[in-house]
């Protein structure tokens, strides 16, 4: 190979490193919120009956390059008539400007364990530039855990409502 041609090629390659526009850094978009939910539950020979009221303190994370794909996580507290605490992790997908659907796993961790899957549809109503009211149905299925009698799968249909804020 001609050394001169090789040198010119190397210089062009080196120059292109500095001339090329730098890629924009990904930006994380974070939100947080709180919601209350209650509804009906059943399983085995019982139900439907009123289910426990649940408080969820959650956060969501997405990147600006793909804002419709959302990772959600939350801390759960069952308030009455018996208290219990847990967590969930969900993948959510924005469906239009106001709707969001999600699917994930959920666990009640204390004082007894209960594990299952959850899914919900949420309607977001903006009340300011950064805050929205959230309303929608949620369905849960629990099929593992020490709090579950043998052969019982618990289903829950909940109506949830709360507020979310872009942080």
């Amino acid at each position: 190979m001609n050394p001169m041609r090789w040198l010119v090629g190397a210089c062009v390659a080196l120059l292109s490193l500095f001339v090329a526009a730098p890629a924009g850094a990904q930006q994380y978009l974070i939100g947080g919120g709180a919601s209350l939910s209650s509804g009906l539950e059943g399983g085995g020979s019982v139900g439907p009956r009123l289910t426990r009221t649940r408080l969820r303190l959650g956060g969501d994370l997405r990147i600006d390059e793909s804002p419709d794909d959302i990772l959600e996580f939350g801390l759960l507290a069952e308030l009455q008539p018996h208290s219990a605490f847990g967590a969930d992790l969900r993948y959510a997908r924005a469906a239009g400007d106001h709707f969001r659907v999600d699917l994930g796993v959920m666990g009640i961790l204390a004082p007894s364990s209960l594990y299952g899957i959850c899914s919900s549809l949420v309607y977001r109503l903006p009340i300011s530039k950064k805050a929205q009211i959230e309303l929608g149905p949620e369905g849960d299925f629990f099929f593992l855990g020490t709090d579950l009698p043998d052969g019982v799968v618990i289903w829950q249909i909940r109506l949830q409502g709360g507020i979310r804020v872009d942080l």
Binding site: G44, S45, V46, I154, L159, G161
Partner: protein
């Protein structure tokens, strides 16, 4: 403010009011933690675990609650066991009708359940 937003806000308000005045669930169990201490959940009912002393099958937390409360206050000695049983039924009815006026009945049922827990613990 648009009509849709107003409707949604009213709906959210009603939801939280409903949650705030939620009635107590019935006496059936669907999880072990639905039952009072010392009882276990079998076939949708809170019962004494196999091998436990006392009554083999304590059906419903409300009955046990009322009996326990009566024993604590000495009502059984004054009114006889028949009255205690009636009280148990009344507590059960209150728990069953807990959603009617979402207030007193539910509170009474809760109180009976608490008494049941105390009686079981004793």
């Amino acid at each position: 403010m648009s009509i849709c937003r107003r409707v949604a806000l009213i709906g959210a308000g009603l939801l939280f009011l409903g949650l705030a005045f939620e009635c107590a669930p019935g006496t059936d169990c669907i999880r072990f933690s639905d039952c009072a201490d010392g009882l276990t959940c079998a076939n949708g009912q809170c019962v004494a675990p196999p091998g436990a002393g006392g009554d083999a099958g304590v059906e419903g937390g409300a009955d046990a609650a009322t009996e326990g409360a009566a024993a604590d206050t000495g009502v059984v000695a004054d009114t006889g066991s028949g009255s205690a049983a009636d009280g148990g039924d009344a507590a059960g009815d209150a728990a069953g009708d807990a959603c009617a006026p979402c207030g007193d009945a539910a509170v009474q049922a809760d109180g009976a359940a608490d008494a049941a827990s105390d009686a079981t613990a004793e």
